[in-house]
């Protein structure tokens, strides 16, 4: 349980993100969502009719991830299949996956969570500094990722295991 890790691990891997305007905002966001979750069940159970387009067939997922990005800038990324439209939220068939991009010196590592797809159903394309990811089959994911630098498409290596796709790309020289 207590693997020794590099720095400041005395408190486990707990990271205090409770600082600054951004993180305060996220705190409020979580409050709102939690309130919604708590209220959701009791209020909603009174009646059955409402419209979120697409919810009949599918499940709506909406989330965000926060991390310190390249260069120390915190980045907030969205994922899921609920899209905001002028007519309110819509549940789409395709889900945007959770994706992380790591700068590993000479190469870029992209890690995407694609649970529930088969390896053969994954398509990855790269053009200049844009990586396009999509899947066919029972679960559909789609995502375009702007890479931090230009890459050489010929160097692309992909691996899929237990629902995680890893793509390695050499930077263009």
């Amino acid at each position: 349980m207590t693997d020794k890790k590099r720095t400041g691990q005395e408190e486990g891997v707990r990271v205090d993100f409770g600082l600054g305007g951004l993180f305060k905002g996220i705190g409020n966001f979580i409050d709102l969502l939690s309130d919604m979750t708590e209220k959701g069940e009791s209020e909603v159970s009174r009646t059955g009719e409402f419209k979120v387009e697409g919810l009949d067939q599918a499940r709506g997922v909406y989330g965000f991830s926060v991390r310190m990005g390249l260069g120390g800038t915190p980045t907030v990324e969205h994922f899921g299949n609920i899209r905001a439209t002028d007519e309110g939220p819509v549940v789409a068939e395709e889900r945007e996956p959770l994706v992380d991009v790591f700068d590993e010196g000479e190469l870029i590592l992209v890690v995407a969570e694609l649970p529930g797809v088969d390896k053969d159903d994954i398509q990855v394309e790269v053009q200049d500094d844009i990586l396009s990811l999509s899947t066919t089959g029972e679960r559909k994911y789609i995502k375009e990722i702007l890479l931090p630098s230009l890459v050489d498409a010929d160097t692309m290596e992909t691996a899929y295991h237990n629902g995680i796709l890893e793509v390695r790309l050499g930077k263009a020289s």
Partner: protein, 172 residues
Amino acid sequence: MSTELGDMFKGLGDLIKLATDLADKVDLSELDEEKIAELRRASQTRVGGMPRGVYGVSVRRGVGGIPRVQPFGNIRRTERGPIVDEVREPLADVFDEDDVLLVIAELPGVEEKDVQLDVHDDLLKLSTTTKGRKYAKELQLPCPVEESTTESAYKNGVLKIRLRKSGAEEGA
């Protein structure tokens, strides 16, 4: 269309906008150098490649058309503000299929042998012990289940668990 429900989903739309705004409004000037260094250290602690905060909700149409909202992720509320935990709550759904309950959980990045299930009455505890990714979730099931009839299968990051309801006779 009920007003309350409309409000709830209007709320969801607002939240999406809020998160989008947040992404645009990252302002480092409010953070002092020490905090930035702290965050940078944290981000370099690559615990299986995921030292980041994740928070989300899943919305699905439940029994009788009642939408069910379930949170997931590893950002927890504390009195000192949100913190990012090492352990992530997975996305999980429970389906009622007559004699059995089907639970589908998304656990990308773990091995099947590292998944632990503990069933007691109407509570399902799910956890993983992988070095890299850690998941944990307690699910309140809609009814009690037989503890001895749990079947599970893990494939491509998705865990499916079949639980026989208590009192449901074999072949009944």
